[in-house]
Subunit: 296 residues, 2 copies
């Protein structure tokens, strides 16, 4: 069984504005993540703009990543608006050698809990791909209750949840509530980078990290400090990243991740339209923050 | 120039659960709307589940509707997550003979006003299809400010806005705010059936109606009463529909519209998965409400 605990790095998926994936740039982006021995790579997450890419482009990206990943598990976003499309994407990811799928409750018509349950049940049953529940209300506008996570965690093949660390003060309670209803071994992890050090210290097992998609080493140090019980060290490293957290919160994680990858010279990627690159003044601000820090 | 004022009826798009459109059932659903001389038909709106259908199925639905519509203008939902997809859908609708396109700010990554402006500008420029702005924050989670509607209304080919009538008490102010910044002849219309009588009485020019997709005649009577200044008559008819408004608010307009179309024997449609038909007890409730009324 794949183990998603630790640091999961979520890179952008380099492409042009029409959604054609640049596999060479993707390899250049993944190489330092693999070298840094991140615990997994979250390919085609929200930062990887998964719903904006066609099935063919998504398959090409997974194949390119798996071919170079070695022992690093590739977790692949397989979400889609329609259940049958999500099934096909999960089958593609499985066939390409992905370790697990990350499945969000992508919605247009607001979904009920029963609809989301059936959606997940169908995808995991029809694909056989281990699935991490992707709770991302900021994009899907669906919020998983602990009760629904509990129901889903009973299904064979649903192995983990990635929850949003929306409020540092409620993380310990959220973890305790989930832990009480999910099976032993079910992995509880968090995204929203600026609250994830606290999520790890509160008992979260995985940091699903946007920053680790471009700067894996300092994120890895935080994960190791938290795992060894050195809360002071973890918080000290996290505090150094405060200017970056401010950028992510101000300009959106996705758009800042594109700007950083381009500023580092790894690629010249544009988000698929209608998403636009950051305006020049915001890109300049990102550059200034990076130049003033040493987090390479 | 197409005129969208009056009553625009929004039917479901009959299909099976895998999103294959039943063109015969669609024709059976449209025939009474055309016979009732609704002012336009809103095909593939949110009630028509547009984002859940493939490009081919959407084109088939538009072709079937245009072929039988005669002089009734067909307004077609052309929204998509990606700008290039929305362009292609608008071109398809134009080529099939649609009178106008209904374009929503479909989003996954939350969009900025500038991104939405460029998205709309590209679609209207590349398709030449007259466009009605579709402000539907309940599904897209993007909210059009009056300022953004004003900017868009200056573009050639953007002719109307469909706003959500979220609060009857603020409609007059909303209409006045928009009227002050849009060009003369730009059409201001509303959806959310239960507040649309008040929207018409406050000066709204179009009722984009889910109920008119199955019961056009009583909706048409309300529109005529409002247009002739007979507010008492319009409100009296609206009050008769209170049990239906309660159903739409309780079980969601889309799912109730499927249930009504099926109960009337017009089709045996299922929403595309993951959306599920109403559970049996809710369908029973819908049947009871309809049986107790005479709104045929």
């Amino acid at each position: 069984m794949v183990n998603l605990n630790g640091l999961s790095a979520f890179p952008i998926t380099p492409s042009n504005r029409d959604g054609e994936v640049d596999a060479g740039a993707l390899r250049a982006l993944l190489e330092p993540l693999i070298a840094a021995k991140v615990d997994s790579i979250g390919l085609l997450g929200s930062t990887g703009s998964y719903p904006y890419f066609s099935r063919d482009e998504r398959r090409r990206a997974v194949q390119a990543a798996v071919a170079m990943a070695g022992k690093t598990p590739i977790l692949v976003g397989v979400g889609a608006l329609r259940t049958d499309d999500a099934v096909r994407l999960a089958q593609d990811a499985r066939d390409a050698g992905a370790a697990a799928g990350l499945l969000a409750a992508v919605s247009y018509t607001p979904l009920t809990d029963d609809e989301v349950f059936e959606h997940f049940q169908t995808v995991v049953r029809e694909s056989g791909l281990p699935i991490c529940i992707y709770d991302n209300p900021g994009t899907t506008h669906f919020r998983f209750t602990p009760a629904l996570v509990g129901r889903l965690s009973q299904l064979d093949g649903i192995i983990a949840v990635k929850s949003p660390a929306l409020d540092a003060s409620t993380l310990a309670g959220h973890i305790a509530e989930l832990r009480a209803i999910v099976p032993s071994g079910f992995s509880l992890g968090y995204s929203a980078d600026w609250n994830c050090t606290e999520a790890l210290l509160a008992g979260g097992e995985t940091w699903y990290s946007v920053l680790a998609g471009v700067f894996p080493r300092i994120c890895f140090e935080i994960v190791r400090a938290a795992a060894s019980g050195d809360a002071a060290r973890a918080r000290q490293l996290d505090a150094r990243l405060e200017p970056v957290w401010h950028l992510l919160k101000t300009f959106s994680s996705l758009r800042v991740a594109y700007a950083i990858a381009n500023l580092k010279g790894i690629c010249a990627a544009e988000p698929p339209r209608p998403i636009l690159p950051l305006p020049p003044d915001a890109q300049k601000k990102v550059g200034e923050v990076l130049a003033a820090m040493d987090i390479g």
